[in-house]
């Protein structure tokens, strides 16, 4: 089996640099709070440099310096704070580099391992595979070293030694490849290193030349393992795992944010990084979950549904912004986690003869904007209510019946949520429309407006309301209706009304009713 090892040196620093990409081109150092050496009293730990990039090292920054010392040593130094969120997101992003090429990946600190023997159909040779992996890691935000070898240990050592390496498949060639490498790359054990130095064995080739039994006898199992590795005969197990269900990006802020615009700016970076990782796995975001850590305490978790899986950041940011604007967090935000639910994008063939409906993503953003403008209860599709009251109406979620359809990961197994209309259905609907079009509509007042009505012997003779004062020319009625007495109770569903259609002197035909319970008149609306 051919295995690739992707090694990201100083993963913590590189993970922190993902949220500050502009700092990659200049000296940068990572600070972490270390406990005081003396450990006495209530003295707080001091933030000290734990990792730095090459520019900072050349400028004189060393591990253990305080932030002030490092800044003095390297003017223009970018000091980044190590956070748990960065560390977790960095590790997950590194794993995603592997998931872009293989279904299962083994994580091991700053390294990942995955099988690459199936990639031969996509790339002409293994060198191209290694280059593609390195390029993808760069897109994710990592400067990675990549090595491909026949065993896990050999790949690990080769990745430590070279930026890009392909170890030959044969045992003898692999041993020859490892032979010039220094012993320090094979073990981190100082005692072992010292022992090999005392023996005068400074390279893998020298260790491989030693009798294996003699090395094991003198240095024990760790020594024997190093010797096996030097001979390219290591037997480290490869334990890959499938990808997690959701993909998470997170950041901890240095100061709390209370306004929407700065929060959107931070959110943009997180969503961009999450989408980049999803794109690497040929997936898209089907749902976004925001977990906001509030200051001083508290958590605000909100799920933002997405109409169709997308890899575009703009609609996702817009949906998140609208949701945050509609329901602002109760306190300033100090930490932000973005969890993207992966789904597969399925392209569908559009119908040449049927109009294309609104694109799901744009429609979702538009519906969210409309909800922000007029309220979510006022946007949707009208739905009849199970009631005998004429003015009763409800709103249900809107879903166009035709148009651009994209499915989710489950879409391969299940039919789409909205089914395009068939031709027969369209014909039937067209016939129904043609037959029933010339019918009047009643423009309802919700709720019915209480009005004054002058009653004569044959019915209403005049009416006066907030916007209407008119004499009644013709009155048709009454039509007595009652209902929902079976729902009588705390909800008070029972009603009884006498309806009139009146042609008023202003030319309009009004529908009004008298409540049989209190005798008052109400204007229901007018025909139009």
């Amino acid at each position: 089996m051919r295995l690739a090892c992707v090694h990201v040196p100083q993963l913590a620093l590189q993970a922190a640099l993902r949220r500050s990409p502009d700092a990659r081109e200049r000296p940068a150092a990572l600070l972490a709070v270390t406990p005081p050496a003396s450990g006495k009293g209530k003295a707080r730990g001091v933030a000290r440099v734990i990792e730095m990039n090459g520019d900072a090292r050349r400028a004189g920054v060393r591990a253990g310096m305080t932030g002030a010392q490092a800044a003095a040593a390297a003017p223009g130094l970018c000091l980044l704070r190590a956070t748990e969120a960065d560390r977790e997101a960095g590790a997950a992003a590194l794993a995603d580099v592997g998931f872009a090429f293989a279904p299962r990946v083994e994580r091991d600190g700053e390294r990942i391992y995955f099988a690459v023997e199936d990639l031969g159909r996509l790339y002409p040779h293994e060198q191209a595979v290694a280059q593609a992996i390195q390029a993808h890691a760069a897109r994710i935000g990592f400067g990675a070293r990549v090595a491909i070898a026949s065993s896990r240990g050999t790949a690990r050592v080769a990745a430590r030694a070279h930026d890009l390496a392909v170890v030959p498949a044969g045992a003898a060639e692999a041993r020859a490849f490892l032979a010039p490498l220094p012993v320090t790359l094979f073990t981190g054990d100082d005692d072992l290193r010292a022992a090999f130095r005392r023996w005068g064995t400074r390279t893998a080739g020298a260790i491989a030349a030693l009798p294996p039994q003699a090395v094991a006898l003198r240095l024990g199992p760790p020594g024997a393992e190093v010797a096996r590795l030097a001979r390219a005969e290591d037997d480290e197990p490869f334990l890959p795992l499938p990808p997690p269900d959701a993909l998470e990006e997170a950041t901890e802020l240095e100061y709390p944010i209370a306004e929407l615009d700065p929060l959107s700016f931070v959110l943009r970076g997180l969503v961009d990084r999450a989408l980049e990782r999803l794109a690497g796995r040929s997936l898209a975001c089907a749902e976004l979950t925001l977990r906001l850590t509030l200051d001083p305490r508290g958590l605000d978790v909100r799920t933002i549904p997405v109409a169709a899986p997308t890899r575009e950041a703009k609609p996702l940011i817009e949906l998140a912004r609208l949701d945050l604007a509609r329901r602002p967090p109760e306190a300033p935000v100090i930490g932000l986690h973005v969890i993207a639910l992966p789904a597969r994008v399925r392209a569908t063939q559009l119908d040449m003869l049927r109009p294309t409906g609104p694109a799901p993503n744009r429609l979702a953003v538009t519906l969210a904007r409309l909800a922000a403008l007029v309220g979510p209860e006022n946007v949707g599709a009208p739905a009849a209510v199970d009631s005998w009251r004429e003015e009763a109406i409800a709103v249900k979620p809107y879903a166009p019946e035709a148009g651009d359809q994209t499915g989710t990961l489950e879409g391969f197994l299940e039919p789409p949520a909205t089914t395009p209309l068939g031709k027969a259905q369209l014909r039937q609907r067209a016939a129904a429309t043609a037959a029933g079009d010339l019918r009047l509509a009643l423009r309802h007042r919700r709720p019915p407006e209480e009005i004054e009505v002058l009653m004569g012997r044959d019915g209403p003779t005049a009416l006066r309301g907030a916007e209407t004062t008119a004499r009644v020319v013709i009155a048709a009625g009454p039509y007595r209706l009652s209902g929902e007495w079976w729902q009588d109770g705390p909800s008070g569903g029972s009603w009884a009304r006498e309806y009139w259609d009146v042609h008023a002197s202003d030319g309009a035909v009004y529908r009004l009713h008298r409540d049989a319970r209190d005798g008052r008149f109400y204007l229901d609306g007018y025909y139009d």
């Binding site: 403008l373 809107y398 019946e401």
Partner: protein, 225 residues
Amino acid sequence: MSSSRALELVGDPEIAARIIPLARLVESRGRRSSGIAALDTLLHGGWPRGGLTELSGRRSSGRTAILRAGLGAALAAGEATALVDAGGTLDARALPAGAPLWIRCQPGQALKAADLVIGAGGFGVVAIDLCDATLRIPDAAWMRLRHAARAQGTTVLVAVPHPRLRSFAAAAVELDGAATFLSDGPPLFSGLDVRAACRRGARDAAPANDEARSSCVSLAFTCRS
């Protein structure tokens, strides 16, 4: 092409009657059926695509019914439609087959909501119901809406109590209705006789030599109850 010219060319009156001038076919591509045959005839194909259409008239002049018919025709053709309902007056029992996107809002929000819907793209017909609105809408808002409609190819129907859109409307129809009651026995409201007069838009769509063009039609709407 006149019918006499067609007859002269093909020689058979039956075939000549079936010939549709190419110009009219081209024009009808820029039109969308209103759902009412008489109105389609009046407007030479229906509502203009990618433009605003104004329906003006007093109360009980049939504006809402025509608006609903337009939405119903578009839904029947499988298109996505939206109704911006300033006042939330929609009659649940008179819903067109299918479900338009329904936005209940204040009159001041109506044009902004319509602009958002049209901007989303993919909507064939967007109806704006301002029948009971008395607010003054600036010209810039209509102009913006017209640009959006043109860019998306959306038919925008605007129902208003008085003509307001002036030159911003690609078509304008004025409506006047008369109530009809059955007088055989106690009076019973039966419907409206509506006279629709085309004030703008029909001339552009009419073939150049269409001599038998009328500027108004009568429509009879019946009461559902």
